[in-house]
């Protein structure tokens, strides 16, 4: 047992933490461990298809590799800005903390936009899933129309894995937005939802995927209404753990999915 002085000055005895840190952080680590198994299973299923199917497609031209490399740079930079936000938070510099969090969100948004562009390009060239709405004039004639027909495991595992990661990045941006801006973030989130919903054509998967932002806005509103608070350094650190995990997962998706299926001529 250790003794410490509580903030109100009354000496108390408390049980030291088994892991030397606070409960919220341990909770986030446990969540991340469970989530890493989700991604582990998805990566294994992709890899299994990659080695077991002889005519596995290699659809990523140089342009796609450059795009994915820029996306990777965005995520790595966002991890740097996130760790600087945590540093500013523990030093009590609220302004710097907010600015670094906003910079992290900007990098995350850039990643999602580039990823969305990559998906749209692949879908336009015929690489699609049966659940996606048909794209007028392209689906049957595109470069990868045969791939979707002959090796359906590729689009299934590709869109499953990268879609799950994109969802995590999107929710990460929302999470950081709530920590940085609290209630002020809700109208911004609703505007983003409207922009994404109305700005994408009806055959795009993002037209319906945008509703994730609406659901997130509703959930965040309920949380902020039920438990309004000023997020402290511990909250920023826990949010940072989640964000770094998203970056970490991409460090495996990028080489396994993109670099191992590159078509460099």
């Amino acid at each position: 047992m250790a003794e410490a002085t509580l903030p109100h000055g009354r000496p108390e005895v408390y049980e030291p933490s088994l892991f030397g840190t606070y409960s919220k952080k341990i909770g986030m680590w446990l969540f991340l461990l469970s989530d890493s198994l989700t991604f582990g299973a998805l990566l294994y299923s992709y890899s299994y298809g990659r080695i077991s199917i002889a005519n596995w497609p290699t659809p990523f031209h140089s342009e796609s590799i450059v795009n994915a490399t820029i996306m990777t740079a965005f995520l790595l930079t966002s991890s740097l800005t996130m760790v600087l936000a945590v540093r500013a938070a523990v030093h009590g510099d609220a302004k710097a903390q907010r600015l670094w969090l906003l910079a992290t969100m900007a990098c995350g948004t850039g990643f999602v936009v580039l990823h969305g562009r990559e998906w749209s390009h692949l879908i336009a060239t015929g690489l699609t899933l049966p659940v996606f709405p048909a794209m007028p004039g392209h689906a049957t004639t595109g470069e990868f129309a045969d791939v979707a027909k002959n090796v359906p495991q590729f689009p299934a595992t590709f869109f499953g894995l990268t879609g799950m990661h994109m969802l995590h990045v999107t929710l990460g941006v929302v999470y950081l937005g709530v920590v940085a801006l609290r209630r002020n973030f809700i109208p911004i989130l609703l505007l983003c939802w409207l922009g994404a919903w109305l700005g994408t054509p009806s055959y795009s998967p993002f037209h319906y995927g945008a509703h994730v932002l609406l659901i997130a806005a509703i959930i965040c509103s309920v949380i902020l209404w039920l438990k309004p608070k000023v997020y402290d350094a511990a909250d920023v650190e826990v949010a940072g753990l989640y964000w770094h995990f998203v970056d970490l997962v991409w460090m495996f998706i990028f080489p396994l999915v993109y670099l191992m299926s590159a078509r460099i001529i």
């Binding site: 109100h8 408390y14 892991f19 341990i26 590799i65 991890s79 760790v83 995990f245």
Partner: protein, 112 residues
């Protein structure tokens, strides 16, 4: 947050206050350099198995840097480090037990 949780959080924050800003920039630079190496290798048309081995090796180093420095696991107590990492590795090894026998069989059969 309960009072004793606040005390622990303050102790953790105190540890973080001593982290030099420069080390984060070094880690970020190292991660970018390793990414550049990966992309360079893609343009070298290496054999798939060799390429996969190098890429996974680099990815594991990158993951270790992110977990250690950005996620601050390097600065946690050893009990935390061992419990989190060993449980993760054990679970991934269990997945591999199902994955690798078939993977090796396919590789030895010559399917590329």
């Amino acid at each position: 947050m309960e009072a004793f949780q606040q005390i622990i959080a303050e102790q953790v924050a105190e540890r973080h206050r001593h982290h030099a800003k420069a080390q984060f920039f070094w880690v970020w630079g190292a991660l970018l350099v390793m990414t550049a190496i990966e992309v360079y290798l893609t343009y070298q048309n290496l054999k798939p198995v060799r390429m996969l081995t190098i890429l996974m090796g680099l990815s594991i180093v990158k993951a270790a840097l992110i977990i250690g420095f950005f996620m601050h696991l390097k600065y946690e107590v050893s009990r935390m480090k061992w419990l989190t990492m060993s449980s993760l590795v054990i679970c991934l090894v269990l997945m591999s037990i199902f994955f690798f026998p078939d993977a090796f069989r396919i590789l030895y059969l010559g399917v590329k």
